[in-house]
Symmetry: D2
Subunit: 342 residues, 4 copies
């Protein structure tokens, strides 16, 4: 394609994030168009497509992959289906943006990476934090040497509460595989050139202790040791009553950089109770610029046949930490990454 | 047009703000397309149109107004041409978004308002602050009663420095007619239902004192009295070395609300010199969400045949304050609005 | 006295601020002791002296001035009595710390200055802002050149609300003579080397409009022009529902510096309503470090026979601005300082 | 003693913290006097006593304990001497304020506690964070239920850099026993009613890797599990180039509270490089209000024969965590508190 051609994208998965991404592609990503929506839930794809003016909707993802008028797909289906969809899309010659986690086993991660490589398609993974302006500026401060060598890092994800989901419908290790995987990537990305070597995790069901017997975990802290000596902490909760909270901190030999404020605007109110500011309630609000930037980067990577800014290898690395954290919880002991990746 | 039709817009004026707006329309405003660019400077329109994929470029604004494939125009030409372009566009049946100031005399303001009314076209004015998220939240706090009745207000605009323009090329009253006019609108908008009644202004050439003899003014403070008793201060400078600074404050019987932070991201760096944060250097960065929102609102107003969120009457009101401020400087005395508008 | 001698101080006036200052002297000012308390209200001096372990209490200020065991006095009586007390104290050879306003006429100001000069005693005035750490750091940024030449300044004082005083008991021009006088001094002090030349003021009874007919004014904005071109704004309200609000801003050719946050601690709470921080409710809380520092400076000036950091001339300068502001309200026109001081 | 008697205190240890505390007692703690200074270094006690006007100085701590004109002692000697000094002071009937760590073995902790109990003297430990206004407000938010049940906590201590000490002169486990012991107490105090049960620690020599072979550790992260499920992280570094950094965070079922800003004043400067604020360089600056408050509380506890706000039991609890953290580093595995305290 030429640099002025429109990149035609389809969304596979019309749920909350699928709808968010479809809306950004249809209306806000420069040079991109929403060409199709697929979702197996009857009516879901049709409704989303109609609301966004997308010309094609189907309950069959394969039907999307078979069309000639689609350059790439956004895989926003449930996590367990991600790898197979990546492989199928690559086999069909479609470029792939896949939401995290790209895979939940290292074998699947390797399979996805190989499929994209063999097909020569772009494979980008949805680690959105990298595209948030504050996080990007934090990484720039690491890159330009202002923080010096990272020594202590922190990344956290707290989903907005109150938590109302049914714990029985949440896969057992979701807090590591779907939530903290963001933080694992963020920590690796903010400590460039270093590799994670050892992991210790603690997790519990503090929000829904009644669900703990069924293996539900909603609160976790993970310590990660890197081969440059840095010690990182990742932290997650499923229920922050004040909203969606995503922050990072890098402390190094030259100084510290922090990112993430939780505030939704720069308005501050002062009243009888004191000072007040609004907080962001949803990831799609707080991280809207990040979502837009990552999808724009995906369209650009397709247009310019360029490497994407987040790769399958990045996803595999974060996954390895998640798997080590899971094993750490199971064994109540630290776990070397080598044990997991061997 | 139906709600799914694309709104086709043309930019008249391919300078800095024209380019900014054209880019937003071409790439980011949902449901809008950049259909044409006009600019009398040879080559300017062609270059901008080519870079954004707009199909038509011309050095003749009238040529744009004569086309059937254009629904509305964005007037981003020099201020002195605004009114005539508004009138011509309205006469051609085009909807109009005009950058501030819509006019520099009240007669011209009335002429523009009448032209749009007679033609039945949308007339929206570029008071961008209203669309900045923090400012909009401030207004919401006024509307929901949290601030109580406004008593003291403040709005300021400081352009990023260092100031390098040639004072001889800046029209004499620009600081009031083009810069503070934003603040005059902001102050009226944050004090809803109240009317300005009296103005006192002080202005000087503090950045370029050598140019004062030629009438150049680069620094100004204006006090505005409203008919609900509120006292407002507007302040402007052409050279803030730290970047583009736009803030507002409303203090009332129930509390205070502030908007505007100057920070460009939520990243903070701590180093040997202390704490550091980046500031926004350009209006098109700091106010990007505002520019996008106001242009989206314009497209929506066209699509839904709805009243625009900022009207010609709003522009006339802010202009009246500017004219009173100018007279206050000339007379070194306070000026009643009635003297100017009579 | 030698540098290790205790400085013995008496408070004349046992009201709210008198009690605050007496407590600081008795307990917190290094090298100082509270030797006596005087207040004409029966029992007031006794109660305060007893609570702080001061050895002497009287209803007669003259009795304090006649004692040999007192080095200096803190005059915290009502404003109208200040000048006569300064003169009497100086005549008795006592060093004097006088709360603002030192005088409410220029003649009285001159009388107080002359009395202290003739007696060779220290005369320090209670402009507390200069001693607040943030304000002092702001001035340091002006002094070290970081702000460049001041061009735009702002200072504000908002007393904590709700306002419950009886307007009939508040002297007519209190907002200028007792409240804004702080800001007038702050603005002069933050623009060192420059002299105020012209004043424009607007004032109203917005909190208690029913009391306006009696001359009550509770809200005011004053614009001050300096001979270096700088334009300053001072702003006051008697009723800030969120607490005591004292801030300053200096914008100059090199940058901007702000001081004052209103927050009472660095604790921030995030809950279902968003982000929250506590605000300071009382001047004696918000400015406690400033009060302690100014009284310590007074004791030091006595001990070292050194010039005080705030002088009678500073008080006279701020008073002149207040008088010009009053005349500006009376005439509804700007007033040259020369008209007032001539 | 009666409530109006002066509490006479002696400092044992005239080093940096000893000098800080002596100065506060001599000049700022209400109702207290510095009666003596002891330090074995020839001349050290004399110099400090002279500078503060204390009447007695000695190189022999026992000489201080033998005096009748001393009510209590501040033990600010090196850590290894703390317990023996506490025991000796208690045996002499002196009230005791001891800097952390009160002891470095649990046996010594028990010995100190027993000695104070048997002698009926006040025993207060120098956990200063509890007295910092922001930290105290954070605890208040926990107490009043705003945070709900704590689930995730964080406390950190970063000493100001650059680190210039000789690692060979720093006892091996100092980062746990002298630095993080603050954080261990803070975390227990911010999770009231809960007991620590399990500890995992990671530590390294990242600032001086050359000293690691000698057992030097300068960077550490500790995870602490509490019996109410809460997971806490403590973090320390010996070299923060931006100054002294002490912060805490409590996240619970009801919200989050944070304390600690690192800023030294509320002044903010905006210049060509962006926004700037000063950071505190020394604990004695950042925590000055806390030091003053804890010493005032000690004097009050003596005067009122009341329990001190920080007890020997609190010190023992924090020590147990430190010992568990040390064992965790030695074994590279998590450690149950019960293993250490059994």
């Amino acid at each position: 394609m030429t640099v002025t051609d429109t990149v035609r994208l389809a969304t596979i998965g019309a749920g909350r994030i699928g709808g968010n991404h479809a809306g950004l592609v249809a209306r806000h990503v420069p040079g991109a168009a929403l060409a199709a929506v697929a979702d197996p839930v009857p009516g879901a794809a049709e409704r989303l497509a109609a609301s966004l003016g997308a010309p094609y909707a189907t309950t069959d993802p394969a039907a999307v992959l078979g069309r000639d008028d689609i350059d790439g797909v956004l895989i926003t289906a449930p996590a367990r289906a991600h790898t197979d969809l990546v492989v199928a899309a690559a086999a069909a010659g479609k470029h792939v943006f896949v939401e995290k986690p790209m895979a939940v086993t290292l074998e699947d991660a390797d399979r996805a990476i190989a499929a994209a490589r063999d097909a020569g398609v772009v494979l980008q993974v949805g680690f959105n934090r990298r595209f948030a302006p504050g996080f990007a500026a934090a990484r720039a401060a690491v890159d330009d040497g202002r923080t010096g060598t990272p020594q202590l890092l922190r990344s956290l994800t707290r989903d907005p509460g109150p938590f109302t989901a049914d714990p029985a419908r949440i896969p057992r290790w979701t807090i590591f595989l779907e939530t903290l995987i963001h933080d694992f990537d963020t920590l690796c990305w903010l400590n460039p050139g270093a590799a994670p070597v050892r992991v210790h995790a603690t997790a519990d069901a503090l929000i829904r202790p009644d669900a703990k017997a069924d293996g539900h975990l909603d609160t976790a802290v993970v310590t990660i040791r890197f081969d440059n000596g840095a010690i990182a902490t990742a932290e997650a909760s499923f229920s922050a009553l004040y909203g969606y909270d995503v922050r990072a901190e890098v402390f190094g030999s030259g100084g510290m950089v922090t990112a993430g404020s939780g505030r939704s605007t720069d308005m501050t109110y002062y009243g009888p109770e004191g000072m007040h500011a609004d907080t962001a309630r949803r990831d799609t609000d707080l991280l809207r610029p990040a979502y837009l930037a990552e999808l724009t980067a995906f369209a650009d990577a397709i247009r310019h046949q360029a490497p994407p800014p987040v790769t399958g290898h990045d996803a595999r690395r974060a996954l390895a930490i998640a798997l080590a954290a899971i094993r750490s919880v199971e064994t109540a002991a630290p776990v070397d990454l080598a044990e997991v990746t061997a």
